[in-house]
Symmetry: C3
Subunit: 139 residues, 3 copies
């Protein structure tokens, strides 16, 4: 069994951003040499997400509006977590909706994807350095 | 390490449907010959879901009503994504709540399930051919 | 390829509780002898969750209030599932938001975690014995 581990670093300009990381993950799959296996991609921070959906800007606007409706940033005093001095409780909740991780099949040396599947890093408390882990196992 | 890959095809009659795919996945686990390992089952389309819950029709009605409350289909003009000519933005959001994938342990050649765990295909923009991927790795 | 399987048992005092199970999972990773691989941790019951987030009590209070807002326990008659004699339909929905499982990378014999990542058992219909499955594969 082969295994391959790499970290991707992010430092978004805005508090919330969605970043298409599919090309980076595909490159790591090639580097790993794994032909058949699994690729785990997960946020290493608990106010960020890794998820799979469409690379369509209108949909990304919909996600932003929808998540703000389900877990609003303000007023920050509505969250107990923010009494610790943080203002990112909503980021913990938004990331919970979007998910921490994806597991993707590797078949014949490539991510085994449907036609519109793309991997995104979802940042909900950005403007600082944060990491994503890519772990590939297989043969 | 063994690996096994198969696609399941769906073409639901209604826009939204939940389909119990547990027997199909169990059959693929048997075919794979894997005794100890992991089984990934994921939607390959971004308005569909694979999730694990109870095979109880009342609960499925509850899921339908609840998801419509959290991400209503209409008015379709409320979503930026639908300005591309689509009417399925709500399906992207509903699938996000329900999840893209499940990873299930295989122990002694079988899905290692609790008493009520069943795998479902969740369709949120149906009436056309769509796929689920089953990837099994182990020994 | 090595594999290792263990079940963790829970019997919470309250209907809803969040339990930090990170030390137990770390111990099982050590026992497994796996240095590079994947660790699946999943609820085996469909009104419980396994998820990763912060071990901060204010945030846990926020989760409780937020989930009650998204899927209220009462009135129990609002859910079709509860006509079967159950009163836990909300638990099925809450667990759907929080997720059934996590997959964690194992690197150099340890859970490959960011600084604040902790694994929790999320109970949404407790006061009875329920299980979590830990499945480790790798080398």
């Amino acid at each position: 069994m082969k295994s391959y581990t790499e970290h991707l670093w992010f430092n978004t300009r805005k508090r919330r951003e969605l970043v298409n990381i599919t090309p980076k993950v595909e490159e790591l799959v090639r580097k790993s040499g794994v032909k058949e296996g699994l690729c785990l991609v997960n946020a290493m921070h608990i106010t960020a997400s890794v998820f799979i959906n469409d690379d369509e800007s209108g949909l990304h606007d919909d996600f932003e509006k929808w998540l703000e409706g389900l877990a609003p940033h303000e007023p920050i005093s509505q969250y107990m977590h923010n009494r610790t001095g943080e203002d990112n409780a909503d980021g913990h909740l938004k990331r919970t909706i979007m998910g921490r991780e994806v597991v993707v099949a590797i078949t014949k040396g490539r991510l085994d994807f449907g036609p519109w599947e793309r991997i995104f890093y979802g940042e909900f408390d950005g403007r600082r350095r944060k990491r994503v882990l890519v772990k590939i196992i297989g043969e």
